[in-house]
């Protein structure tokens, strides 16, 4: 099998973050600040990434603005010739810092949205005042003229805000919005029962997205990640393991996807020990689930195996304890019935504010957060 070079790299600069969203995509064991790579090492990794074939660099976290050297890192990324995208909650960005990032050549900003009202957003992020701050940052982004993508993360408690999120994206002058329904890994899996949308909500979201795509053609591009577990077939995770993208964790471990550390038998190389090229082409973790040779039935003889590569390896491991199993969200998985009955039980009696429900407006923005497990960073 010929291994193509990667197109995109996610640089998780830090796991530190002022927010503590209960669906955070960082691993349950967060990297401490003292283990983070320094500026020079990141700069070298960016050059190695460009030499390897990476075109798109996503500076992420945690909250990347928690790194004091963010501007230097953007400079280094642009020097390496990478298209540089900042994935941020906005917290920690000042007008002055944004101007510095502009001068450094930052190409694009992706701003996360935890809710369309302060009540919702601050409850989800566990950070009071965060929404107001974010709205201020969005204004500065617009004034400077950065291309903007709004990333609205949706779940049972805020899915009714989707129409407003689409309006907000247009008002902010965003060219794109990612409508991302929470996927159940790591922290989100801990909160699955509290966050999973109902079947009716998932269907309604798909309808709203389809209508908005038609109505906003040429104004707003909508990328949609539908609700996990509600479709017949699994998602083509990472476009196929080790086929198009890689992640570098704050401590320099190189991962095939952001959740890969949840598969305990995988060993990850570090950028401080080996070159990115060596790791991408020959690293054990990257070759573990590349292609289709690792597959068992029913994936092995499935006509969709090159379409979705059997779904998500991390999900197969998290739910079944076997990373080579068919992702159980697939209708062809022998465990699909078991998973469906589990999630149906979790959704039993779940309260979900309905779209278009007049009382859902403000009242729907207040929900019981005591059932959520917020992410926590251990103190040094």
């Amino acid at each position: 099998m010929k291994i193509p070079p990667p197109i995109a790299m996610l640089a998780e600069l830090t796991h530190r973050c002022p927010l503590s969203c209960p669906y955070c995509s960082n691993p349950l064991e967060l990297a401490r600040q003292e283990t983070e790579l320094d500026t020079e090492t990141w700069a070298r990794v960016f050059r190695e990434a460009a030499d390897l074939g990476v075109l798109q660099l996503h500076l992420s976290g945690g909250e990347p603005a928690s790194r004091r050297d963010l501007t230097q890192l953007v400079l280094a990324a642009r020097d390496a010739g990478l298209y540089t995208n900042l994935i941020t909650s906005g917290i920690g960005l000042t007008e002055r810092r944004l101007q510095e990032l502009d001068k450094a050549g930052l190409d694009h900003i992706q701003l996360s949205l935890q809710g369309t009202t302060a009540e919702m957003a601050d409850a989800v992020g566990g950070y009071k005042g965060g929404f107001a701050r974010k709205m201020q940052v969005a204004e500065w982004i617009g004034a400077i003229g950065f291309p903007l993508t709004l990333n609205a993360v949706l779940h049972r408690h805020n899915l009714h805000q989707l129409p407003r999120a689409l309006e907000m994206a247009v008002e902010m002058g965003a060219r794109r919005i990612e409508v991302a329904t929470v996927q159940f890994h790591g922290w989100a899996l801990k909160n699955r029962g509290a966050l999973m949308p109902t079947h009716a909500q998932a269907k309604e979201a798909t309808r709203i997205v389809a209508e908005a795509r038609a109505a906003l053609k040429g104004t707003l591009v909508i990328d949609y990640v539908p609700a996990d577990y509600h479709e017949d077939y699994p998602k083509r995770c990472m476009g196929g393991w080790g086929s198009s993208g890689l992640n570098v964790a704050p401590d320099g471990q190189v991962l095939p996807c952001h959740a890969a550390q949840s598969i305990p038998h995988l060993k990850f190389d570090r950028v401080t020990d080996k070159s990115l090229t060596e790791i991408w082409y020959r690293g054990a973790a990257f070759n573990a689930y590349r292609g289709t040779d690792w597959m068992a039935e029913p994936c092995k003889s499935c006509d969709r195996k090159l379409k979705d590569f059997g779904g998500c390896r991390c999900q197969a491991f998290a739910l079944l304890g076997d990373a080579t199993a068919t992702d159980p969200v697939c209708v062809k998985s022998p465990q699909h019935g078991w998973l469906t009955s589990q999630t149906q039980a979790e959704l039993q009696g779940a309260d979900a504010p309905a779209l278009g429900d007049p009382v859902a407006g403000e009242a729907g923005d207040v929900f019981d957060t005591s059932e959520l497990t917020y992410r926590v960073l251990p103190r040094p």
């Binding site: 070079p5 390897l52 995208n85 694009h108 992706q110 291309p147 060219r175 794109r176 040429g218």
Partner: protein
């Protein structure tokens, strides 16, 4: 795309030569589009000053092709980029 439209690449969208894959690509927010020779030739003419009509004339002269055919092909290509917000037209 009408002949008077002046197309341009907005901030955050740029042409880039991909040395590793030996091809031109269009880099845009969270997207990288591989360009074939035709796509690269069309975008190479987009400078934010000349109109679509002028661009089609220039391409027709350079490639010794009927201007109607060039106009049709490039309008389709640029229109698709515009729908994805990778290309804009000066007001």
């Amino acid at each position: 795309m009408t002949p008077d439209d002046v197309p341009f690449l907005p901030r955050g969208v740029r042409l880039h030569f991909d040395k590793v894959r030996d091809t031109w690509v269009l880099l845009a927010p969270e997207r990288a589009i591989t360009l074939d020779a035709v796509g690269h030739a069309i975008l190479g003419e987009v400078d934010g000053t000349r109109s679509f009509g002028e661009i089609a004339q220039a391409l027709a002269a350079r490639y010794d092709a009927p201007v109607e055919q060039i106009t049709g092909d490039s309008a389709g290509f640029l229109g698709a980029l515009r729908d994805r917000r990778f290309l804009e037209v000066a007001p």
